[in-house]
Amino acid sequence: MTAIRFSNVFKRYASGHDALLGVDFELASGEMAFLTGHSGAGKSTLLKLIMLMDRPSRGQVWIGQQDLSRLHRSQIPYLRRKIGVVFQNHQLLFDRSIFDNVALPLQVSGYDPADAARRARAALDKVGLLAREKHNPITLSTGEQQRVGIARAIVHKPRLLLADEPTGNLDPQLSEDIMRLFGQFNSIGTTVLIASHDLSLINRMQHRMLTLKNGRLVADG
């Protein structure tokens, strides 16, 4: 059972820059993998293609049974609801509370407010920030903001969890905590794909590693 499949995917930007050159790989459902490479190697581009934040220039991307090139624009939101994403820059909204940030994916999908509140609190509890739910995320440290971002990514129990440099500016101890959190989600069946260049940390995690170099997949294992 495949969660993600890339088939000979090319991505060339309008500027002429080739971000991906014939990328081929499969990620099985329930698998956890790291995507590594230097900055500019194409990690973010690859994640963006999965989220349909961009379309490949050539080749095909499959999410589950769905060929993304055959997905109509109006269907994109429903695909995104199946995916949880942790952004490098958190993408939190500072005009509302931590709780409201985490509950946003549930509101968007039309959950009952009481149900949404229960789930949002459970997600916040999971990342250890339940006590701060009424605060504004701007009052949090970077590591805490990242954890709010993670809570928001998992609040709707997605089958697929993506993370782009989730430990970007965190100290080793915090990074390890966050990676362990991802491991926990994976252990209950969530497919996890994490883009990161923190090789020492990744090596310790003992998971599959996809290495990108100049847009090509140079190592898998």
């Binding site: 994640l47 609801r81 993408q91 909204l93 782009d164 069946g189 599959r208």
Partner: protein, 353 residues
Amino acid sequence: MAKPERKGQATLRQPEPRPAAPPKRGAQQHRVQFADRSRSWRRHHLSVAREALLRLKQTPIASLMTLAVLAIALALPGFLLAALGNLQGLTNGWEPQPRISLYMQTDLSDEAIDRFSRELLLREDLNSVELISRQKGLEEFREYSAFADLLDSFEDNPLPAVIMVLPRDTDPLQLPLLRSDLAALPGVEEAALDMEWVQRLDAILMLAGRGSYVLGGLLALAVLLVVGNTVRMTIESRRDEILVSKLVGATDAWVRRPFLYSGFWFGLLGGVLAWLLVQLALLMLAQPAQALASLYLTDFALQGLGLGGSLTMLASAVVLGLAGSWLAVSRHLRDIDPGAVAPGAAAPGAAAR
């Protein structure tokens, strides 16, 4: 390297091997789900409508100024159309057919005038001839005029006999010729082409009506642009929220909804204000109009917008508000797409701490 263990929390992932296929459910459960969905849809509409209204209150000065502009733009055509409706109602009582009044010399005897009017009846170019004798004119004047007392100051009847004729040919070019022809007849003191001014007034009213529709169209365009621009600014200020909502799976309709409600409220509140302005203006005019009408001996009363007019005004205000916000939303919402922002790249305003 798929992990075989799948412990706990069955909600996390569907156990069946086809994740893209909808999970099988009993019909009853599905119905509950559908009811649930429609309930959540209604709930979202309500909360979004309330939030859009609260947002207007958050910037009271700006909102009031926008509403004032909308109200004036909406009130002007409404007022013009009400005024024209009144004028048309006033002139409707008058037949538009042109008449020529022949004022006879006062020294002619009644018999002579009667004979003269019979001769006129024989003319081919006249449809009808009506004689108002001096005595009859006096009675009518006493009956209908507020200046009846004036007559008491005369020893004799000062009024001439009048013969009103309806020309067969109402061609505006032929009428003056007929008038001078009649004026030249012996015994006729003066011939006046009576209803000419009514025709002119009608033409003027028609022009003014057409003009107010044109003006109304232009002002409707102004309303559209004002609402559109206001909503565009709201969209800009909520750019991050739109982006993040789209990233977590918000549909276009969901993202669009708050802005459409903003437009709705602008339209509705602007329409209500405009209605109040028109009613106020009519109220201020009612008294003087009554006074003027009584001078002209009519029992004319100023008509307001009426129920139909008021509803039309409110409805068009709401439609214009919605249309304006729809324009802004469809124009700008596609620009704000997560595709334009790389997840790793510089964050939009949200991260600009």
